[in-house]
C-alpha cells in the first residue's frame, strides 16, 4: 500500500510538470474549448445585451439592444437599454430617434443626440424610462445607456 501511494505520488508530481507545459503550449486550444464547452458570454450588464433591432437612416443606423434587467436569479427592478449610432464618420450633427423597445408599436422614448456638443436629450414616453445613464463616443459611433425601472 505504502509503495503504491509512493508511486502514485511521484506520478502525480511528474504530471504537474506536464500540466505546466500543457497550460502554456495548449493555451489557445484550451481557452477556445473552455469558451465553447461552457457557452459562457460576457454579462449583459457589461456587453449591453443582445442586439434586437436597428433603424436604417440610409447613411447611418441606430442599433437597439434588448432591455437588460437580468439578475442572479430572475429579473431586477432596475435596468437599462443600450442604443448605438454608427458609423461615426457618417453621423449627422444632430440625430433624433424615437425608440420602441417594448414592440407595441408605440414610441417608448425619444432621443436627441447632438454629436458636435456630445450632448443627449431624453424624452420619456413610457413611465419605465428614467434617465440617461451613459453617453459615450466610441470608435465606431456613439453609445447611450438609458436607465429603466420596471413598473408593475
Amino acid at each position: 500500500m505504502k509503495r503504491a501511494l509512493k508511486i502514485a505520488g511521484y506520478t502525480w508530481a511528474v504530471a504537474c510538470i506536464v500540466v505546466v507545459l500543457a497550460t502554456f503550449v495548449g493555451n489557445n486550444y484550451f481557452s477556445a474549448k473552455l469558451a465553447s464547452s461552457t457557452g459562457i458570454t460576457i454579462s449583459p450588464w457589461f456587453s449591453g445585451g443582445e442586439i434586437v433591432g436597428s433603424i436604417d437612416h440610409a447613411t447611418y443606423k441606430t442599433v437597439i439592444h434588448r432591455p437588460v434587467f437580468d439578475g442572479l436569479i430572475g429579473e431586477r427592478k432596475e435596468g437599462f437599454i443600450q442604443i448605438e449610432w454608427q458609423p461615426v464618420t457618417a453621423l449627422p450633427l444632430v440625430i433624433e430617434d424615437g425608440i420602441d423597445f417594448t414592440g407595441d408599436g408605440k414610441e417608448d422614448f425619444a432621443f436627441r443626440l447632438d454629436t458636435a456638443a456630445g450632448r443627449g436629450t431624453l424624452t420619456p414616453r413610457n413611465p419605465s424610462v428614467i434617465a440617461i445613464q451613459t453617453l459615450v463616443k466610441v470608435n465606431q459611433g456613439w453609445v447611450a445607456r438609458i436607465q429603466l425601472r420596471k413598473v408593475s
Binding site: C16, I17, V20, T23, F24, F46, G48, L72
Partner: protein, 391 residues
Amino acid sequence: MMKEHPPHAKTIEVRQSPGKSFLFALPMMLLTLMMMSGGKIPADPQRLFVFTVTYLFFNLLFFLMIHTGKTDRYRATAFITYAILFIVSFISHMFEARGSMSLSQEKILLCEVPFCHLVIPMTLIPAAFTKTIIFPGTITGGYASIASMFTIWIGASLSLGRGWCSWGCFFGGLDDAFSRILKKPVFRNINPRWTYLPWAVLLAVVLSAAAFLSPTYCTWLCPFKTVTEFEAVTSFKILVQTILFASLFIALVIVLPLLTKRRTQCSLFCPFGAMQGLTNRINAFDVRIDPDRCINCKRCVTACPTLSVTEESVRAGCPLISCMKCGTCMDVCPSGAVAFHVRGTPVAGNRNIKRMLFLYAAFLFLAIFSGGTIQDGLSRIIRLITTGSMI
C-alpha cells in the same frame, strides 16, 4: 526546548556539485529555450539581446537554486523582477493603446478591459447561475482574455496550488520586494487573528459580486490598480474608489510589508490568495516539517512571510493552508527539517528528488509565464534609455 542538531544538515543534503547541478539544470535549459522562443530565435538584434538576457537570467537562477540548495532568494529575484517589469510592460501598453493609465468609459462599454486572475472568485457564482462573466473583457482573443486567464489559473492550481502566489502572480512580487528591504522588522508580532481577514474579504466580495453582478473587489478595493489601470475620475464615487485603492496600495503593499517583513497584502487581504489556499489541497506538492529533525528553534515561524507557520503547525508537521511554497522556511531551517514534499510519499528520504520535482513545475511555470513580459519590459527600458520614450 531546543534540541541539538547536526551543522549544515540541510545544505549538505540538497546542495549539489557544479557538474551535477548543470546536469540537473539541463532539461530546464532546453524546456525554457523551447518555450520562451516558441521554436524561433529572434533575428532582430535588440530582441535577440533581450531574449538572451532573459534566458540566461532564468537559467542562472535555476542553476544556483540547485547548486546552493537554497530556494527563496533565487525565486524572489525572478518573482520580483517579473512584478516590476510587468508594471513597466503593462503601463507602456496602456499608454500605447489609449494614451494614459486611466480606463475610459469607452473601453468599458466596448468590453476591452484586460482580465486578471484576482477577478476569478467573484465570477464563479454569477457564471454558475447566469452563464455569463461579470467583467468588461473578452472571452477569447485580444490582450489578457478571460478564457486564457482561466486556463492559466486552472493549470496553476493543478500544478502548484497556492504556489501560484510565490511563483506565478504578477502582483505578488511587489509586497515580496518591500518585505525584504529592512533587515529586521519594526513590528514583530502580528495577531494571528488577522489571517482570517482575507477569508472575510473573500466572502464579502463573492457575495456582493453575486448580489450586484459586478466585480466589487476590482471596483472598490484592488490595490494593484494603482500601478496598472484605473477608471478616470469623472464622479465623486470614482474619486472615493480611487482614494480607497491607492491608500490600500500604500498601506498593504508598501508600508506594512516594509515594517513587518511579511507579505501583508497577500497574506492578510487578497481574496484570490485566500481562495487559492484551497487548491493546496488538490495539489501533489506541499511543505512538511520532519519532527525527527526539528529542533524547535522557531526560525520558520519568525521567517514565514505569510504567517503560515505557527507553533501548532510545527508540532503538526505541516504549515497552514495559506502556505505559498516560497521556500523561505526551508532556507532558514538550521536542521533541514522543513522541505518540499510529494503527497503519498514518506516525509523523510528522497528530499532532493521531491524538491527537484517541485522546482521543475514551479520554476518552469514562472519562467514561461513571465518570460514574454520580462522581455517586453526590458525592451521598453532599453527604448527609454536610447530614445527617451518607452512606447
